[in-house]
C-alpha cells in the first residue's frame, strides 16, 4: 500500500502532462472589446468626398471592327443646347465580301456606290446632313483610333446630302473616282491598298451613325458582274466641345476627354484602414428641359470605371454598370474595394479613377455632372466600410 502511494506521482505524470499541454478552451468572448476599440476603432461607414473631379486629356477610343470596339462610324454636326457644337467625322474602310469572279476581274468597273445603314441619330432628325467624301491615303488601325486621331486624306471626292433618318442610304461615287480606282477595285490586293473614306460633315442638324450590317461598297464591271465590299472598320473623329453651362463637367461619348476622379485615400491623406467595401455613387444631371421638342438625344446606356496610374500607362478596367433612367449609377465590387485598400496602404501604382463610356456604345451622347469644389461641393462621394488598423 505504501509503495503504491509513492508510485502515484510518477504514474500520474504523463496523463497530467498531456492534459496541461492539450487542454484549452476555444470560446472567445467580447470582454475587453472596449479596451481594444479605444485603440483600434470600430468597423464603420466612412463617407469620403472626392478631392477632384475634372476632365482629362484622354480622347475616347472610337475605332471598331466587326469583332470589337465601336460599331458606328458617326458623321454630322449638331449644335447641342448643353454641350455646344458637336462635329463628328466618320471613318470607314471596306474589304471584298468574297473572292472576285473572273467575270468581274475581266471587265472594267464603270459604276460604284456606297450603301450606308444608318442606325443611330442624334439631334434634329428633320434636317439633312451635308458631307464631303475624302479618300484615306494611308493605313489606319481601328483598335487604336481615338476621337482626336489624325487620318491622312486626299482631295475631296464629292459632296453629298443625306436625310437624317434611319435606314439604308445610297450614294453614288463619281465616275472620275470609279475610273481612277478601276484596277484597284478588281485587284487581289484591294484589302491592303485601299484604305477607305473619311465622311467629313459640312452642315447639318444631326449626327448619324453607320453600322456594319448592310453597309457596303458596291462596284459593277462591264461586261461582267457586281462585287460587294463589306464595311470592315469604322471610326469617328470629333472636335472639342465647350459646355454652355458653368460648373458642369461632361462625359462625352466619342469625346476628346474622360473624367478623372480622386479620393483622399492614400498615405498621409487617410489613416491606415481595412477597407471592406466601397460604393462610389454618381448622379448625372437631368437636362431634359434644356432640349427642344423633336431633338433626339440618345442617352448612354452604361458607364465604366477604371483605375489609372500616375503616368497613364497602366489602366485597369474595374466595372461597367448600367445607368438608371434618372441618371444615377454606382460602382461597387471587390476590385474597386481592393484598389482602395492598396491605395490606402500605399502599395498601388494607381493614383486616380477614370469614368468612361464603354467603346461599344458608339454614340455621341453625354452625361453632365455638377462639379463645384470647396464649400457645398457637389463632387461625387464614395461610401467606404472600414475598420481602422490598430
Amino acid at each position: 500500500m505504501r509503495t503504491s502511494v509513492r508510485q502515484l506521482p510518477v504514474r500520474l505524470l504523463i496523463p497530467l502532462l498531456s492534459f496541461f499541454l492539450i487542454a484549452g478552451c476555444d470560446d472567445p468572448s467580447n470582454v475587453g472589446q472596449g479596451l481594444v476599440d479605444s485603440q483600434a476603432g470600430e468597423t464603420r461607414i466612412l463617407e469620403m468626398d472626392a478631392t477632384s473631379f475634372e476632365a482629362n486629356e484622354l480622347a475616347d477610343l472610337t475605332g471598331g471592327n466587326t469583332a470589337s470596339g465601336s460599331f458606328y462610324a458617326l458623321f454630322g454636326q449638331v449644335d447641342d443646347p448643353v454641350a455646344g457644337n458637336m462635329i463628328a467625322t466618320g471613318v470607314v474602310d471596306f474589304v471584298p465580301e468574297s473572292q472576285f469572279s473572273t467575270a468581274f476581274t475581266g471587265g472594267i468597273v464603270n459604276f460604284a456606290e456606297l450603301q450606308f445603314n444608318i442606325e443611330y441619330l442624334y439631334g434634329d432628325t428633320t434636317s439633312a446632313i451635308q458631307f464631303e467624301l475624302l479618300p484615306i491615303l494611308s493605313p489606319w488601325e481601328s483598335s487604336t483610333l481615338r476621337s482626336d486621331s489624325t487620318i491622312q486624306t486626299g482631295t475631296s471626292i464629292a459632296t453629298y446630302s443625306v436625310a437624317a433618318s434611319k435606314g439604308i442610304t445610297k450614294i453614288t461615287l463619281p465616275q472620275s473616282w470609279v475610273s481612277n480606282f478601276d484596277q484597284l477595285l478588281r485587284s487581289s490586293g484591294f484589302s491592303d491598298e485601299f484604305h477607305g473614306f473619311v465622311i467629313q460633315p459640312i452642315a447639318s442638324g444631326a449626327i448619324a451613325g453607320i453600322r456594319f450590317t448592310n453597309s457596303q461598297l458596291r462596284a459593277t464591271a462591264v461586261p461582267g458582274d457586281t462585287t460587294t465590299y463589306v464595311l470592315s472598320k469604322v471610326g469617328t473623329l470629333t472636335a472639342p466641345l465647350s459646355s454652355s453651362i458653368e460648373d458642369v463637367v461632361l462625359l462625352h461619348d466619342a469625346g476628346r476627354s474622360g473624367l478623372d476622379i480622386r479620393f483622399p485615400i492614400a498615405g498621409s491623406e487617410s489613416e491606415p484602414l481595412m477597407i471592406h467595401r466601397v460604393r462610389m455613387a454618381f448622379q448625372a444631371m437631368n437636362l431634359a428641359d434644356r432640349y427642344p421638342t423633336g431633338f433626339v438625344r440618345s442617352f448612354p446606356a452604361s458607364v465604366g470605371l477604371r483605375a489609372v496610374s500616375n503616368d497613364g500607362l497602366t489602366r485597369l478596367d474595374i466595372l461597367e454598370v448600367p445607368i438608371n433612367a434618372d441618371g444615377a449609377f454606382s460602382f461597387d465590387n471587390g476590385t474597386l474595394t481592393n484598389i482602395f485598400q492598396s491605395a490606402n496602404l500605399e502599395k498601388s501604382v494607381l493614383d486616380r479613377f477614370e469614368i468612361y463610356l464603354p467603346t461599344d456604345q458608339s454614340g455621341v451622347g453625354f452625361l453632365a455632372f455638377p462639379a463645384t469644389a470647396g464649400l457645398g461641393s457637389t463632387f461625387p462621394t464614395a461610401e467606404l466600410t472600414v475598420t481602422p488598423i490598430n
Binding site: 509503495t3 510518477v10 496541461f20 492539450i22 487542454a23 485603440q39 483600434a40 461607414i45 496602404l345
Partner: protein
C-alpha cells in the same frame, strides 16, 4: 524486471529525465500559439512571466534569498552554489480564467502553457554550480470576438470583429553561483531574451459584398543582458535556524528587432510596407528578499521585485505604448511572501506523508502596462503547493495552485479571476562522479 527495479535503474532515470524535458520543449511552440488568455496580455511586450522554481512559485513567486539543495532557484544566480545533484526541472501551467467587464457577458477561458525548463550542475558540490534556464519572459495570449452590426445605406450588415494575439518573449539564461564563504554566495548570469510578438485584427462579414480582412503584425525581438546576485547567510544562529538575505540586479538592455505587417484576405496575403527595424529597451530589474527558517520544518520568505518600465522606449508602437509619447508604461512592483512546512524536516526515514512539503504564499503585482494610462492594473493572489517525493531519490513532483484576480470592472477595465494549476517535475541525480576502481 519489476517496476520499482526499472525505476531504480540509473539508465532509466536519465532517459526518463531526458524524455520529460524533451516533452516539455515542444510545449514552447504549442503554448505560445494559444489565444485563450486575458486581454491584459495584449499590452506592452506582453504579460510578464516569472518561474524561478516550483518551490518559489508556491511561496508567492519570489525566492531571492531562498536556499535549497533540492531545487534549482533561478531567481538569484548566487543560489546555484547550493547544487549537490545534477538537476532537471520543468513545469507546465494550466489556467482557467473568468473575465468580466461592465456591459459585457463574462467569459471563461482555459489554456495550458509552459512554465519553464531548468537544468543545473554542481561543479564543486555545494560550492560552485552552473545553471541553465529557458522560461517565458512575457506572454501574449488573448482573443476577443464581437458580433456587431453596421448600419448601411442599403441594409444592416453583421460583422464579426476579432482581436487576437499570441507569442511572447523567452529568456534563455545561463548562470554560475559560487559560495565565497559559509555566509556569502555570489552569482552571475547571462540572459538571452528573444521571441515573437504577434497580434491580429480581423473583420469578417456574413455578406459577400463585403471583403473580410485581417491585419497581422509580427514583431521579432532579441537581445542580451546580465544579472548579478548575492546571498548572505546571517551567521551565529542556532543549528536548524537560518536567516538569509538575497538580492539581484539585472542590467537594462536593448532588444533589437524587426516588424512585419501583412494584410490577409480570402485570396491571399500582402505585406504592408517594408520590414521595419527598431529597438525596444528592457529596464533594470532589482530583486531583494529575505528567508527565515525558524526550524528545519518551517521556512518563510518575503520578496520585492522592481522593474523600471517607466524608462521603456521603443521604435515600435505596442498596444498601450505610443512610441511618440515615450512614457506610457509604469514601473512594475511585485511584493510576495510565503511559507513552507515540511513535517519530515531532515529526517530521512520519515513517513511518505511527512516528506510532503506544504507551501503557501501571497503576492501583489502592479503591472507595467495598462490599457488606460490613468489606471494602474494590479494583480493580487494567493498561492499554494504540495511537493510530492517520488521513488527516485532527489526527485519531486510539485503541484502548485495560484488563485488571483487582476484589474477591475470600473473605468471600462476588465476584471480577471484566475486559477493556475502548476505541474512541476524536479529530477535530481548524482552525475559525473568518478567510479571507484577495482
Amino acid at each position: 524486471m519489476k517496476f520499482e527495479a526499472i525505476l531504480s535503474s540509473r539508465c532509466y532515470r536519465s532517459i526518463l529525465a531526458g524524455a520529460v524535458i524533451a516533452f516539455l520543449l515542444p510545449a514552447l511552440a504549442v503554448a505560445q500559439r494559444s489565444n485563450d488568455g486575458s486581454v491584459y496580455t495584449r499590452f506592452g511586450l506582453g504579460d510578464r512571466q516569472t518561474w524561478n522554481s516550483a518551490r518559489g512559485q508556491a511561496m508567492g513567486g519570489g525566492g531571492y534569498a531562498l536556499p535549497s539543495t533540492l531545487y534549482i532557484n533561478m531567481a538569484n544566480p548566487a543560489s546555484l552554489s547550493d547544487q549537490i545533484l545534477t538537476r532537471f526541472a520543468g513545469g507546465l501551467t494550466y489556467q482557467t480564467l473568468t473575465t468580466s467587464s461592465d456591459g459585457f457577458e463574462s467569459g471563461r477561458l482555459a489554456s495550458g502553457s509552459l512554465s519553464g525548463v531548468h537544468a543545473a550542475f554542481p561543479i564543486k558540490i555545494n560550492k560552485t554550480g552552473i545553471g541553465l534556464s529557458l522560461a517565458p519572459y512575457t506572454r501574449i495570449s488573448y482573443r476577443i470576438q464581437d458580433l456587431n452590426t453596421i448600419a448601411g445605406e442599403m441594409e444592416d450588415t453583421g460583422v464579426i470583429r476579432e482581436y487576437s494575439g499570441n507569442g511572447g518573449l523567452y529568456a534563455l539564461t545561463g548562470g554560475i553561483g559560487h559560495r565565497l564563504s559559509d555566509n556569502l554566495s555570489l552569482g552571475v548570469s547571462a540572459q538571452m531574451i528573444f521571441g515573437l510578438l504577434e497580434e491580429a485584427q480581423s473583420s469578417r462579414f456574413n455578406n459577400s459584398l463585403y471583403t473580410d480582412r485581417t491585419v497581422e503584425k509580427s514583431t521579432r525581438l532579441r537581445g542580451a543582458t546580465a544579472s548579478l546576485g548575492a546571498r548572505y547567510v546571517v551567521p551565529g544562529l542556532p543549528r536548524g535556524k537560518g536567516l538569509v538575505f538575497g538580492a539581484t540586479l539585472t542590467l537594462p538592455t536593448t532588444l533589437s528587432g524587426e516588424r512585419i505587417a501583412a494584410l490577409t484576405t480570402s485570396v491571399g496575403t500582402d505585406t504592408l510596407g517594408t520590414t521595419t527595424k527598431g529597438d525596444a529597451s528592457i529596464p533594470v530589474t532589482i530583486g531583494a528578499g529575505v528567508a527565515f527558517q525558524p526550524s528545519e520544518k518551517w521556512s518563510l520568505v518575503a520578496d520585492l521585485l522592481y522593474e523600471g518600465w517607466s524608462s521603456f522606449s521603443s521604435d515600435f508602437d505596442f498596444p498601450g505604448y505610443d512610441h511618440t509619447a515615450n512614457a506610457d508604461l509604469n514601473n512594475r512592483v511585485r511584493i510576495s511572501a510565503g511559507v513552507e512546512f515540511w513535517p519530515a524536516g531532515n529526517r530521512p526515514f520519515a513517513s511518505y506523508g511527512a516528506k510532503i512539503a506544504y507551501r503557501a504564499g501571497l503576492y501583489s503585482d502592479r503591472s507595467y502596462t495598462s490599457p488606460d494610462p490613468d489606471q494602474i492594473i494590479r494583480a493580487l493572489g494567493v498561492t499554494g503547493g504540495l511537493s510530492l517525493p517520488s521513488l527516485l531519490p532527489g526527485t519531486t513532483i510539485d503541484l502548485n495552485v495560484d488563485v488571483g484576480r487582476r484589474g477591475s470592472t470600473s473605468n471600462g477595465l476588465v476584471h480577471d479571476r484566475y486559477i493556475r494549476f502548476g505541474l512541476n517535475i524536479n529530477f535530481g541525480e548524482r552525475w559525473f562522479d568518478r567510479l571507484p576502481l577495482g
